[in-house]
């Protein structure tokens, strides 16, 4: 049974990680038009417990994308400088959508694993019930 509970907790950690990735993607998309907003990127790493890797996945620290902010020409904008430009965000919607899709696929794969482990342990329990 330890293998099953291991597998279930690993699949759960995977779903959690993908969900928090999706949350950051939606934050980025929501702030596409926020002046001066830097895109947030999260990293995944293996969880280490008592010196050995447990196989669970953990979300590392959130990093800000250091790439150049876009310069938008709009002299009427309150934040525009003398030349009529202001700094927009460095969010690229195409990248965010692709990232969201990838997160969704990985989430589904983890969910499938979770479901399969559950089915396997249910079958085992059915054997006991007879």
């Amino acid at each position: 049974m330890t293998d099953f509970s291991d597998a279930i907790s690993v699949a759960t950690s995977g779903m959690k990680a993908q969900a928090s990735r999706l949350r950051h993607v939606s934050e980025n998309i929501a702030n596409t038009d926020t002046p001066g907003y830097r895109r947030k990127a999260i990293t995944f790493e293996e969880m280490v417990n008592l010196g050995r890797t447990t196989g669970e996945v953990a979300v590392g620290e959130v990093r800000l994308d250091r790439s150049e902010l876009s310069r938008i020409y709009d002299p009427a904008h309150p934040m525009a400088d003398a030349a009529g430009y202001y700094q927009g965000s460095n969010v690229n919607l195409l990248i965010e959508i692709a990232d969201a899709r990838e997160a969704q696929r990985s989430y589904e794969a983890n969910l499938k694993m979770f479901d399969q482990v559950r089915q396997m342990s249910t079958a085992l329990m059915d054997l006991l019930r007879r």
């Binding site: 690993v10 699949a11 990293t43």
Partner: protein, 128 residues
């Protein structure tokens, strides 16, 4: 009592093996986006069984009874050789799905054999 019968022992080892494999597959899929993660796998039961039947069975049971979590699975785990993606990850979701289906069928087969053998025993005892 059931464990003294070879059939039950083999079916039990097969189910345990499927469980261990499933844990490894779940681990790979959870880490499908972790940079530098190396995918791992456990060989199919028939290959492990054919390799050395007695030692494998004993090892599987020792890990089970001794309560040392994952001891026998670490011994059987191998790193999968695969094309790494740009972030150094070698997990292929498609391959893992294939393995997951294989594992599920292996587990089902083991449980079916176990249940069937139990039915035979029950019938011989006059219960059904």
């Amino acid at each position: 009592m059931y464990n003294s019968l070879d059939l039950f022992q083999t079916a039990g080892a097969m189910a345990r093996h499927a469980g261990a494999r499933q844990a490894v597959v779940a681990r790979n899929i959870a880490n499908a986006d972790t940079p530098d993660f190396q995918a791992q796998s456990i060989a199919a039961f028939k290959d492990v069984y054919a390799g050395s039947a007695t030692t494998t069975m004993r090892a599987t049971r020792a890990g089970h009874l001794g309560g040392q979590i994952g001891q026998h699975t670490t011994d059987l785990r191998q790193t999968v050789v695969g094309e790494p993606s740009p972030n150094g990850n070698t997990v292929s979701i498609e391959d893992e799905m294939l393995r997951a289906v294989e594992v599920s069928r292996e587990h089902n087969r083991a449980l079916t054999i176990y249940r069937h053998a139990m039915t035979v025993l029950r019938t011989s005892l006059g219960r059904s």
